[in-house]
């Protein structure tokens, strides 16, 4: 054991290779398209139907979690990456759901067309809202998103002829999924789950690429120091506008899938309460410190709802308490806790190194 440790720290000690490894480090900062964490998440989520019943859960929950992972990843582009708090994002989720329903009921019974219009509607609505808020930051930004969210919610309640009012749109058939060479029915919850899971994978990989692109870096730069970004020559307004639009389009996608799964679309998902939920679960998961924060948040929330919910009717109270504790003691959320653990482990290993090889601390 000691032998191995001593060996592994040796290259760091020889000085002439220092220059060399330095250069290598500089040129190998590439971001992988697929990462270990990604595969891990895909395996856990992808095998959900195989073990869900075994632990007392059910397939449908998997579909729900998958949808909210999409929603939360898109939301975190705005909140965690750009630092823009939207408390009205339920609106775009809801608009996506209505767009899906209206496509099925009024235009054509096609899953693809429904999804296309969900994304489009969510994106367009968000693009319009973004025109009015993108010059703002912080609390004013948040307040304006609430105001717009409420307008959409109110409209969905009152515009009976289009949205069906408080009852919403009902009887949206799950229908067939046409893949060109063959098509299969989505009426089975497990096939539905795998369809959504495929979209989760696409969104996860796509957004991972996006946040590591120059655009993604610009988003983070705006979060950390909007003024500096402007003085560097970034078009801050347009970047803020576009990220809101993208995030809204993804919320629309999630909403469309929600309508597909639920076979209905209703105003509830647009309420302030529902909009608050996405903020809360993204924060609990740790969206500010990790790409995976919103994924963890979505999983924990729905697991808590079903396990705590089975035990007590007041589960939301407990969940709310948990939220408060996280905000007070670990604002970086679950992902932050995890990172701390990893760091501590690293330190402990370093200590082991240090006691066997005195200079390894110096090498670090």
């Amino acid at each position: 054991m000691n032998q191995r440790v001593a060996q592994s720290s040796n290259p760091l000690l020889t000085n002439d290779s220092g220059e060399h490894s330095h250069r290598v480090a500089l040129t190998t900062q590439k971001t992988a398209i697929i990462t270990k964490q990604m595969i891990c998440m895909f395996i856990i989520l992808g095998t959900f139907p195989l073990w869900s019943e075994w632990v007392g859960l059910y397939n449908y929950l998997g579909a729900e979690i998958a949808i909210w992972i999409i929603y939360a990843l898109g939301f975190n582009l705005l909140l965690g990456y750009t630092g823009l708090p939207s408390f009205g994002h339920g609106a775009f989720f809801g608009i996506g759901a209505y767009a899906y329903g209206l496509t099925q009921l009024g235009i054509i019974e096609s899953v693809w067309a429904g999804i296309f219009f969900s994304v489009l509607a969510g994106g367009i609505a968000a693009a319009v809202v973004a025109c009015f808020i993108s010059h703002r930051r912080g609390i004013y930004y948040a307040l304006m998103t609430i105001a717009f969210g409420q307008i959409f919610w109110f409209t969905s309640m009152r515009w009976h002829t289009l949205t069906g009012g408080e009852d919403g749109l009902l009887n949206i058939h799950r229908g067939e999924l046409n893949l060109g060479f063959f098509s299969f029915s989505l009426s089975e919850t497990s096939s539905l789950f795998y369809f959504i899971f495929a979209i989760v994978m696409l969104v996860t990989v796509g957004l991972w690429r996006l946040v590591h692109s120059p655009y993604g870096k610009a988003l983070q730069a705006i979060r950390m120091n909007e003024m500096r970004a402007r003085f560097l020559g970034y078009n801050v307004w347009l970047i803020k506008w576009s990220v809101f639009m993208i995030s809204g389009a993804i919320a629309g996608l999630a909403g469309g899938l929600f309508a597909l799964v639920q076979q209905s679309a209703y105003p509830d998902v647009m309420s302030l309460h529902a909009s608050g939920l996405i903020v809360m679960l993204t924060l609990i998961g740790g969206g500010f410190v990790s790409y995976w924060g919103p994924v963890l948040g979505a999983i924990v929330f729905f697991m808590a709802r079903d396990t705590l919910g089975a035990m007590t009717e007041t589960w939301l109270l407990w969940y709310g308490l948990m939220f408060m504790l996280v905000i007070i003691f670990k604002p970086e959320g679950i992902a932050g806790l995890w990172q701390d653990l990893m760091k501590r482990r690293e330190k402990r290993q370093l200590k082991v190194n240090g006691s066997t090889e005195n200079a390894s601390g110096e090498a670090k």
Binding site: H212, F231, L232, G233
Partner: protein, 247 residues
């Protein structure tokens, strides 16, 4: 003709007239200094020149082009970059990420959703060169917030240098540095002077007198004197004013 000219600039904040009538010019290839007591309006002057505020009156011309009232983004795009008096880094980024984000390679791709700038060898090397220039080699992957103060100031200058600007504005780069840090920074700026046109706001007279080709003294929102360090040294009134004795 001078690279940069500002004429009869005026800037008010409500009732308070901060810049009364400022006329300045900066020459290509020179290091120009701006001095003045606390609250004289030096930073405000920079803010007007670099697009943070629109002047209430006056004209700003860069390289023969009228840039009066243009936005910070547009002015940056023309090749003017700046550092700030109050530290202005991307704290959660590493040192090299701070430089990368300021490279034209990144800014020109600000809407590119797929490129991997940290996997871009030429961009990475360029960023590493900038860090090297400001004495931060070996700190590439240290988070900006955990760098010691002096290195943070150096990184600020690096960020401003990354775009390879035609004109570089530095607002009190020595603020908060000890004698040691100031000496090192002076060395660095002396080095940069060879390849860049620079404007430096500075309190520390020794620092500025040792570096500048030309110095303008701002007081009460006006330029009360302009000249070479030697010319200014002979002007007792200027000396008194910058020392704050008649502020």
């Amino acid at each position: 003709m001078a690279l940069f000219e500002a004429t009869h600039l005026q800037k008010r904040f409500g009732e308070q007239v901060v810049l009364e009538d400022i006329t300045l010019s900066f020459e290509e290839g020179q290091l120009s200094g701006i001095m003045g007591p606390n609250g004289a309006g030096k930073s405000t002057c920079f803010n007007v020149l670099t697009g943070q505020y629109k002047p209430d009156n006056g004209r700003v011309v860069f390289d023969g082009r009228d840039i009066t009232g243009k936005s910070a983004r547009v002015i940056a795009g023309l090749g003017i970059s700046r550092s700030f008096q109050i530290m202005n880094l991307f704290d959660e980024f590493t040192a090299i990420e701070n430089i990368l984000i300021a490279l034209p390679e990144s800014i020109n791709r600000s809407f590119n959703p797929v490129h991997d700038i940290q996997g871009n060898v030429s961009a990475m090397e360029k960023a590493a060169d900038v860090l090297n220039k400001v004495g931060l080699s070996g700190r590439e992957f240290t988070q900006a917030s955990s760098l010691p103060y002096g290195e943070r100031r150096a990184l600020e200058i690096g960020v401003a240098l990354a775009s390879d600007p035609r004109l570089l504005f530095l607002d009190e780069p020595t603020q908060g540095l000890g004698a040691d840090g100031t000496a090192r920074l002076s060395e660095l700026i002396n080095e940069l002077k060879k390849s860049y046109s620079i404007v430096v706001i500075e309190h520390d007279m020794d620092f500025l007198f040792g570096l500048a080709d030309k110095i303008s003294v701002i007081h009460w929102g006006q330029v009360i004197a302009t000249g070479t360090p030697d010319q200014l040294r002979e002007n007792e009134w200027v000396m008194a004013s910058t020392l704050g004795e008649i502020a």
